[in-house]
């Protein structure tokens, strides 16, 4: 179960981690500055297992994988949004950061709600409000990547098979 941090629409990768910090890819260093201008208390108070909830087009802008890496570095266990920008979507899948598309959940969940993800049942469970929301299930090709633990693990497995 995780506590939710709520954000609005069009949170860009510049919001998540500003350009000036892209001189490293260390998750812990990036985490210190994650979302700092948008919500100064976020990097200070975020706890392992917390969730980010946002509106439309989360992660728009640059392709920097530093953005999902920073969120993962903060201990964020998953992101729920109405929609994701496409490169952010890929990056999160590829590095094994779970993301869930659900307009209903994104609208209904409030700051601080305690929320759990039931992967098997494709359900987001809001313990605070006693509500459930469905999420867009992953196509099997993406599930394969997630199940392998990320794209590199998946590629290693595939290349191994081809040999």
């Amino acid at each position: 179960m995780g506590r939710c941090w709520k954000f609005g629409n069009n949170i860009s990768t510049d919001h998540i981690i500003a350009g000036k910090y892209l001189v490293t890819s260390d998750p812990k260093t990036l985490a210190i500055h994650c979302l700092e201008d948008t919500r100064p208390e976020f990097p200070k108070k975020v706890k392992a297992g917390d969730l980010v909830v946002a509106g439309e087009n989360f992660g728009c802008g640059s392709s920097r994988e530093h953005a999902p890496i920073a969120l993962k570095g903060c201990g964020i266990k998953g992101i729920i949004a109405s929609s994701f920008a496409r490169i952010f979507f890929r990056n999160a899948i590829n590095i094994g950061l779970p993301i869930f598309e659900s307009r209903e959940a994104a609208r209904d969940i409030q700051e601080g709600d305690e929320v759990e993800i039931d992967m098997g049942a494709s359900k987001i469970v809001n313990r605070t409000r006693g509500k459930n929301y469905g999420f867009e299930p992953f196509p099997k090709e993406i599930l394969e990547i997630i199940e392998a633990g990320g794209l590199m693990q998946f590629v290693k497995k595939r290349m191994g098979k081809q040999k």
Partner: protein, 418 residues
């Protein structure tokens, strides 16, 4: 099939593909930069991979924080350099040959019509101007491509943008794309391909087309694409490092949507903070004073852009309250601008001219904004803090509006500064 679908089909061994389908596509060319490639290299090495798929189909372009602005950024470039030497990569670019990646690769004939290109940089979509299917991805995708030469893709739907008429005198490809993003919003083409066609597009020089496809990602698109024609072919001829194929949409192409515009109504546009979709025509703006103007980037740092800017600045002075920074996007563009006397025009006007770099575009170096400062830039993004202090502002425009505004000190229609 649409142009994009035909390219994807040809690269995934299918006679036909349909939107929503998953494919593992062969990649003709891939690229990374000094920000994204270090992660890709780390992933590649941590996975114990030893061989790249093709040393002639990978470009590493250290353009973001170069010439290295500090020790950390120098380390990142060194990671690229070491990897390039270890794997004998043909296309690693030191400063002196380096340029802003999305201007450099087309200029060198490394990305071509009909190609399927991936780049660990969101503006990889720029190459759609040549009729390539080019998509921005992340570092892990690049690492996987280093090893396999492939990328996973979900075949996107295509929206057709049809432009009738002709752009008016002071409008450019940049104004056209700003207008479209203002119309459909920053997620108006999410996951989709934007195909730009019509008489107004056919009449545009290649540099304007690059600017248009460059900003497709600002509408959330996976790719922007322009059917390759004589102008595209003229550009690639003599540069192409490989063979290429000029695809077009075929008769049965199905678009998820078609949008029609009258290009003759698109006047110079400006995107106000803090979204590229926050677009207004210049003439509708109240007085907006500016502190800095940047002319450059992968959107508008090409020779056509510099010519337009110099044409306006010739014999004039930059406003005393404004700093003008001009950054030719590549060495070849720099040299051409020098030969044509454009650099002299900029210097005499009181501009600072820089070696090619992304620099200020992403708030990296070479022109960072202080608190409360306002910059008008020919770049592509104006999210909060993009060019410096979180309370600084970025406005986006064409080179013509940027140059005119540098002279007057406020956001100005080019016709007023001439």
């Amino acid at each position: 099939m649409t142009l994009a679908e035909r390219i994807i089909a040809a690269h995934s061994g299918q006679s036909e593909v349909y939107p929503g389908q998953f494919v593992y596509a062969d990649v003709d060319f891939c690229l990374g930069n000094d920000i994204t490639a270090p992660i890709a290299i780390k992933e590649f090495e941590e996975a114990g991979l030893e061989k790249v798929f093709d040393r002639n189909r990978i470009a590493l372009v250290p353009d973001h924080f170069t010439p290295s602005k500090d020790i950390a950024s120098a380390q990142q470039v060194k990671t690229l350099r070491d990897f390039a030497r270890r794997h004998q990569l043909e296309y690693f670019f030191e400063i002196g040959s380096m340029g802003v990646e999305h201007a450099l690769l087309p200029e060198l004939g490394l990305v071509l019509p009909g190609d399927l290109v991936i780049g660990a940089d969101s503006h990889t979509c720029t190459y759609g101007a040549l009729g390539a299917f080019a998509v921005g991805v992340g570092s892990t995708d690049l690492a996987a491509c280093f090893a396999t030469g492939k990328v996973w893709l979900k075949v996107p739907e295509t929206i057709k943008f049809l432009f009738n008429g002709r752009l008016p005198k002071w409008s450019s490809g940049k104004d056209l794309i700003l207008f479209v993003i203002g119309d459909i919003g920053v997620d108006g083409a999410l996951y989709k391909v934007m195909e730009f066609t019509g008489p107004a597009i056919s009449a545009l020089p290649i540099d304007d087309r690059f600017a248009i496809c460059n900003m497709a990602v600002e509408a959330g698109a996976k790719a922007g694409i322009i059917p390759p024609d004589k102008i595209a072919e003229k550009y690639v001829k003599g540069r192409a490092k490989r063979g290429y194929v000029m695809y077009s949409s075929n008769g049965a192409a199905s678009y998820c949507q078609t949008k029609e515009y009258d290009a003759s109504k698109i006047t110079p546009q400006v995107a106000l903070p803090n979204l590229p979709s926050n677009v207004q025509p210049v003439e509708a703006l109240a007085r907006i004073d500016i502190d800095q103007v940047v002319i450059g980037s992968c959107t508008n740092g090409r020779i056509t852009d510099l010519r337009v800017a110099a044409g306006i600045l010739k014999g004039k002075k930059v406003h005393p309250y404004v700093r003008l920074i001009v950054i030719p996007a590549t060495q070849a563009i720099y040299l051409e601008a020098l030969k044509e006397g454009l650099i002299e025009t900029f210097l005499k006007a009181g501009a600072s001219v820089s070696t090619p770099t992304c620099g200020p575009c992403l708030g990296g170096h070479m022109g960072i904004l202080a608190e409360g400062e306002r910059c008008l830039a020919t770049t592509n993004r104006n999210f909060p803090g993009r060019m410096g202090h979180p309370k600084s502002e970025v406005y986006l425009s064409s080179p013509a509006v940027a140059a005119a505004s540098a002279v007057t000190g406020k956001i100005t229609h080019p016709a007023e500064a001439i």
